[in-house]
Amino acid sequence: MERLRQRVTQRWSGMGLAARMWWAALATVGVAAVLVLSATSVVDATSHPAAPASAAAKSAGSGTPTAAAAGSGSGSGSMAGMTGGASTSTPTSTPTPTSSPASAASPASAAPASTGSAQATPTVCANVKGTTTMSNGMVMAPVPPGPPTAAQQAAADLLVAQTRATLARYSSLSAATAAGYTPATKPTGYVVHYANWPVAKSDGFDPSDPAFLVYANTVNGPVLLGAMYLGPAPCTPGPDVGGSLTQWHAHDNLCLSGGQVVGNTDATGTCATGVHNTNTYFMLHVWTEPSLATTHQFQADLTRAELAPIIEGNA
């Protein structure tokens, strides 16, 4: 140790001023780096205490689905057509009416969407503590436990009203495309997400300027179903608007190519086409189409069966 100290002292004394300053600066930056890393790790750990059970987890655990529809596996055309909406697919289970007592009272009171059964290990967005990954590849963000409070209900209602007001000008697809919305999923699917990319790339959550509009390709032409909002950054849920009513979700099984969702990962988690979207955004749907709004207001996933009346012109 003494020898080392002597060597260091000897070297230090033999150094020029520039070299001494460089070493001093390096030591300073090194200490700062350790401090910053420690501080962020502590903040990260303390900002994610024991994860609140999400509504999805609770529903899966209790066997009493709170979602309006249950189960739609990969490739089922679920997630409102994020995969392009293969019309031959079928939902894997029967839709179940929501058990939320408030659902009939308010347009914004449908239960949060959580479809499929919960699985243990999320493959994306591991940074978000308390998520629940469903068997159909949806990663449900944590929401506050318990039923929505009056304030949460009011906030959810306000979000619906604001979204509905904004979407009034996009009832026709041509108006949306004229405003810069372009297909983000296969345009021939039964449900198509149209993105306004400059908005999608911004960090804001603005009901007057939604990042995505969702249309169904029906026998009567495109019908506006609602809007989809994105979180501020990949793997970051957006603001908690209405508690368990407005649960953000992401997808861990999407394949992207050329800026569009082109399919789902296979059983091994790989994409036949495109790349696995491991850097996914959290999203929140607000369905404003009247027949959906009453029962599926914020549902993450809509099956082909649930959309059948609209697609077939019977809604």
Partner: protein
Amino acid sequence: MSTAKGAGRVSARAIQIGLGLVWLVDGLLQLQPQMFGTHFANHVILPTAQGQPGIVSGVITHLAHLIAIQPVLANAVFAAIQILIGIGLLVRETVRPALVLSFVWALGVWSLGEGFGMLFTGMASPLTGAPGAALLYGAIGLLVWPRAAGPAASGPAAAEGPLGERGGQAIWAVVWCGMGILWLLPANRAGGSISGAISGAVSGEPGWLAHVQLSVAHALGSGGESVAVVCAVLSFVIGLGPLLSRHPTVFLVAGAALALDYWVFGEAFGQVFTGLATDPNTGPLLVLLALALYPNRVPAAAPAAVPSRVPDELAARSGALA
């Protein structure tokens, strides 16, 4: 370019200084205003998680999350480290520790900041910076690691380093042949992939550059496979040329020229005009690597200086004839 001995010679010291300047540029780019917000984590780091294997994606995502907690402090540290590396390479006494620090930092940047050059995604393209600039920082630093023997009088700068001239040429071959292989990936041979990559790099660029890029993308159209194969063949020739030929200069010049093409059209000068660039990307580094291997041939000696014995020989022959 500074010289060690003889005008015009590209010495190892000159390459160290060049590398130091690039590191300084990196550090200054890290000081751009947008880097001090969540944009750095969300729009620079996180996108590299796309398509990566689960564990890599998870680590990158977690790192981005940590950076986003304290973006100002984290970014200040990142900038300071890179500026320190740059200054360290400019000061002769601190070249060795600065290079050691650069190796560690470059490895971290390559793995987490560049997502291993996107090599695991199947989508890596030399046109847009694969196999990753950070890898080249390390390779060049290794080539010009200062040895006790001191600068050489002739030969390439790499000859002064621990790997020698042949080692340098081997690294050049690995880099360029690796890029040749990447060109042959299905994603790069697909129709329209090259024009798509170029037009995809237009976002946020100034009008004149966007115009140039879009013009090139339009000219290439959907001719993906043929262009990719040509680029692959060129890459293999450029990579193996210095090893197999007695005239490496032509391959080094060709490599530098092709690298500059990538830099302008595919890398958009490292996207330094967007406010979100963290380095100038691979173009300048490939040029620096070529310079490190530049032969620096000693010019043939002047005839008057060589034949000191000639008069004697002439005299002897004269005597013999006499």
